[in-house]
Symmetry: C2
Subunit: 519 residues, 2 copies
């Protein structure tokens, strides 16, 4: 949501807004203009060669130093992020731990070194009819990376978030365009990274933060010829606008935008019959978590109609009616949510079965639950659109074939979830291939909110969930976005980087003639 | 060059043209229309689920069967490819071996299984504050792939070439748009693959070939919503047109276009002084090989001015003057070459120091050697454009700093070459970081023509050498283009694909909790 979202500058400068009150908060902060964006990119380019030449150990210690600098500002950062986002302290505290944890995880990945993708094909001087040259591959960082802070994760997907951590781990310098809704938090986190840069004796251009309400900041950043790649988490419109900009450059660059997903949940027949009430409770808890402002919010439930589904709908409806409202991230997001609910109410064949409580305060997200039929869902393209917030849609299907048909009409998704018991296996096996082609992650008997930062995580998926389903923005595979292979043919040892030298001074696992040899 | 190049259909149908005579040759072949493209994609989509579910061994045997079916048609294929391309029989014979060799290499890769990228993060049920779920990742094929045959490699980059081999290895079905200059060769190779499909008892839609002179065939193919990815080798205009088409689709898809490179060769001072004559001979041999019609043709030589460079230029000029002309691939390519030479002759500061012999026959490439200064090169953007054919440009620099400055102005390249002796090490070390950022492959004391099909090869590079420098189109890493990761969270064993099952029935190496365990 970074681009297109504006925070109106007040008379005293650029300040945050507490979405619970609509009041400006915090100190007046300096506003960057496009010239300061260009200057930041210039610094990032100037620092790139020195930074990418650092050893894995130096780079790992730098990532750990960022985590340390964040820790020393822990209370201030958590307080600021909670106030600027309206997200409660416990949620932000968890997000803080996730943010420092993923920096440390990437430090361990950098040290381990498999991300370098080293391959050696030794020379075969006597091969007929032609000798084979000595060939060696390693992966190198792509260049300075632009990162856009996300509105819904003011820490873990922002200034020191996963995009920044994985780009720095890869050896890229980073320019962050801070989300305009979190100027105070961004400034605090930016200071922490600056401190780590100084303590690590790295060039200042390794990291820069640019802040301000003007969407031209982000456009200038992506358009700068020195920027080699872009990480973004936000709205579909914002991500597509950046992708267009990047594709129209004289030298196009990749944009990794994580944009839009309705995260379908399939209730298999036997599982639904066995536990409609527990499923309904779990669903509503996941749907309303954080005012539904998760990329992985379960926006759609699909099941075969009947008494069990009726029971599920009734129970979920009651839970929704009891759900208290929560503050949304910004006034803009709240207004968009209200518009989307209004629009959904007027779609033929869609029924609002329950609305949540509307509490005091500004920008309250009132949960909403809708039902429709497979026929109506398949006929109305707007029902596949994400509603960012705590709004769920239950799709009643006539039979198993209708469930598969709904699955076939889904756009690309970050996640799909199956609730099943052993008796549902044949049904689940029929669904699975359809889901694999449309999703980055498939869950069984869980809820998609809550994304583990791990080696085997994929937080990505086919378009429009992201612009590039071959990559993930969460977990250690995220580093792959910012690397590319370079082949060295017949280089003398003196010219080879250490990861490719015969002596293997970094102690790396290497693929030799196609066969992996562990360190 | 696939799109934009048209072979005029004669009165009797779609036939090849011998570029040596300009005469139509071979039988009249059926011409596909856009409806047959759509039908081919429909078959590719229909076959995709069954094909991607095949075991690694079945798929490997299929790739080997293609190589076998090609072998049984060896003489006919080589004769046809030579006649339709104007390339001599020995060159095409080598290319035939490369084509069957890379199919067999991909078969071995498929069996070995590391391309599946398996990662397991076991559940941590007792972790505080939250348990970790069981997470497993594998890579799956992206879907049906469109492949465009190249003009300059009628076998190795065409119907059964590297794009087709790597896409089939990944588990993708393939629709090839045959190059209109090689209709007879394409038909023969297509028959061989069809035979292998039948012998392997796979669905017919695993592979389709569409042929004809109409550029709408390729546009329809790339625009079809069922196509998930595109492989292309050809001109910059052709590649960019496909990339634009793909980016403008409602669901954009990646295009791997290998387009344009001038493959700079740097002659380090001591190496040039030690062996100007041998360097000149090697350069002209590489420049004129196959009428210069290689993606890796060394189009630019950069060195410091002086007596040694003068000697190099004189010797190379004599070798060029003695060089006999060769037939170019098509009349269109020949006309474009002549236009480019004419244009280069009129650039201020560029001198034509030698032209080759002009022999008999149609579409003859007359080699050309130009010189200029670093100042002129840096001032004239057209000098960084590829001239497809045996045209070389030598850039004389005032000093080492001027060499670095030329390197900085180069666009993205497939290759860069250094000629050096030990005394040149400091000079080479200064150049290397600049070249790494601009190239996919760096060679020392060799020539860039001749691309090894190997595990450690990168035939790719930053824009405009390709549309996506993170990938290669030659070598076993080419399979990465057609795969994406899917994460499975808490799936019961019965639902997991074999590569992720606890029992590891495929005997794969797997990354467990971040640590690679060999099979």
């Amino acid at each position: 949501m970074s681009i297109g979202t504006q925070t109106a500058p007040d008379q005293t400068g650029f300040r945050g807004v507490d979405p619970r009150t609509g009041q400006s908060i915090g100190p007046s902060l300096p506003v960057d203009d496009t010239a300061s964006v260009t200057a930041a990119v210039e610094r990032a380019e100037a620092a790139f060669e020195a930074y990418r030449a650092t050893s894995p150990d130096i780079r790992a210690r730098f990532l750990e130093a960022i985590a340390g600098s964040l820790e020393t500002r822990r209370e201030a950062i958590i307080a600021s992020a909670s106030t600027e986002s309206g997200l409660p302290i416990p949620r932000i505290t968890g997000e803080f731990g996730r943010t420092t944890g993923q920096l440390k995880l990437f430090a361990s990945v950098v040290r381990q070194g498999d991300w370098l993708g080293v391959r050696l094909d030794p020379a075969l001087p006597d091969r007929a009819p032609l000798p084979r040259p000595d060939l060696r591959v390693r992966r190198i960082p792509v260049g300075p990376v632009a990162v856009f802070g996300a509105s819904n994760f003011p820490l873990a997907f922002s200034v020191a978030g996963g995009d920044t951590a994985s780009a720095l781990a890869a050896g890229c310098t980073v320019v962050v365009r801070g989300h305009p809704a979190h100027p105070g938090t961004s400034a605090l986190v930016g200071e922490a990274i600056d401190e780590a840069v100084r303590l690590s004796e790295l060039p200042a251009g390794v990291f820069s933060l640019v802040s301000g309400p003007d969407i031209a900041l982000g456009q200038t950043l992506v358009g700068d010829p020195r920027i080699a790649s872009v990480g973004f988490t936000g709205s579909r419109n914002g991500g597509l606008a950046l992708a267009r900009l990047a594709a129209e450059r004289p030298v196009p660059i990749p944009v990794f935008a994580e944009m839009s997903s309705i995260n379908p949940v399939f209730l298999c027949p036997a599982a639904l019959e066995a536990g409609a009430d527990a499923l309904a409770d779990g669903f509503v808890a996941s749907l309303t978590l954080g005012a539904g402002q998760f990329c992985t919010n379960p926006g759609v439930v699909i099941a075969i109609k009947g008494a069990s589904l009726d029971a599920f709908v009734a129970r979920a409806g009651k839970a929704i009616e009891a759900a208290t409202s929560s503050t949304m991230l910004t006034a803009g997001i709240h207004a968009a949510y209200d518009r989307a609910i209004h629009a959904r109410n007027s779609v033929a064949g869609v029924t609002c079965v329950a609305s949540g409580q509307l509490g005091d305060g500004e920008n309250q997200c009132r949960a909403a639950l809708f039902t429709t039929t497979a026929a109506h869902f398949n006929a109305e393209p707007s029902l596949t659109d994400e509603v960012f917030g705590a709004s769920g849609l239950i799709i009643a299907c006539d039979d198993a074939e209708a469930v598969l048909d709904v699955a076939r009409r889904l756009e690309g998704q970050l996640t799909a979830t199956l609730h099943m018991v052993p008796a549902d296996e044949p049904f689940a096996k029929g669904l699975l291939p359809l889901l694999e082609r449309r999703c980055g992650r498939i869950l069984v008997n869980g809820w998609p909110t809550g994304v583990e930062v791990a080696h085997a995580m994929v937080h990505g998926g086919p378009f429009p969930s992201t612009t590039d389903g071959r990559f993930t923005s969460v977990g250690t595979l995220a580093i792959d976005r910012f690397l590319r292979p370079v082949c060295y043919q017949n280089l003398p040892q003196a010219l080879l980087p250490p990861e490719l030298a015969d002596a293997n001074p970094l102690g790396l696992s290497r693929r030799i003639d196609g066969v992996l040899k562990l360190a």
